[in-house]
Amino acid sequence: MPVKVVALDKMLCGKLAAEVSEGGKHTQYVVRHEGQRVAITFLSRSYAEIDDSLASRIARQLNVSRRQLQFLIECPMSREDYIAHVLGD
């Protein structure tokens, strides 16, 4: 199932409160928690949607499963749940 880049951006900037910086063709997102950098991912500004395979790779960059990434986008998974999952890994 394709994922809209705008939905990923909204989740990263909103729910995960990622720090955003712009590269040449990419937006870089760094998720921090209590001074630690927890995860880094990138989104291309050239594409509106990414396919399921790429969404799975972005999920790996965020240290979650593809299903958990969908939960982050659709709201069942909170930032607190996410941090606990990643740091408890």
């Binding site: 063709k25 928690h33 396919d51 395979s53 790429l54 990643v86």
Partner: protein, 132 residues
């Protein structure tokens, strides 16, 4: 996504010390340099931000859903590049590797465990150029 074979790239551009294995055929035999502008020609190697410790196999496949080529380093498949051609996808991957390495290397003490592991893996792959 079904990997397709496009042959070696860029066999017709000997000034670039780059060979990207596309598809599922034989592994890459060449090493390449990567920089903030993507993959650099040999005569621009001193300007590279980083270089690779060892050969790196890169797969490029067409993603019909995304409408882009996707370049993935076989042993570093956490990171990938997108582009409208195999060349652009490779350059995109190079830019991503530079960005993520520089971000991680900027303050290794602040990395949580998952990023420590990613940084350690990238350090096995990448050598920062002394001038940078």
């Amino acid at each position: 996504m079904i990997p397709q074979t496009y042959g070696w790239y860029p066999a017709s551009q000997p000034t670039r010390h780059v060979a990207v294995m596309v598809g599922r055929a034989a592994p890459l035999e060449a090493t390449f340099m990567i920089g903030s502008q993507g993959v650099l020609p040999l005569d621009q190697l001193p300007a590279a931000d980083l270089k690779l410790r060892r050969p790196l196999v890169v797969h490029v496949a067409w993603s019909p859903e995304t409408g882009a080529y996707v370049a993935t380093a076989e042993r570093e498949d956490l990171w990938f590049g997108l582009g409208s051609s195999p060349q652009r996808a490779l350059a995109d991957l190079a830019e991503i590797l530079v960005m993520v390495y520089q971000e991680l290397a900027s303050d290794p003490a602040s990395l949580a465990r998952p990023l420590q592991r990613q940084f350690a893996a990238l350090q096995q792959l990448i050598i920062p150029c002394p001038s940078k």
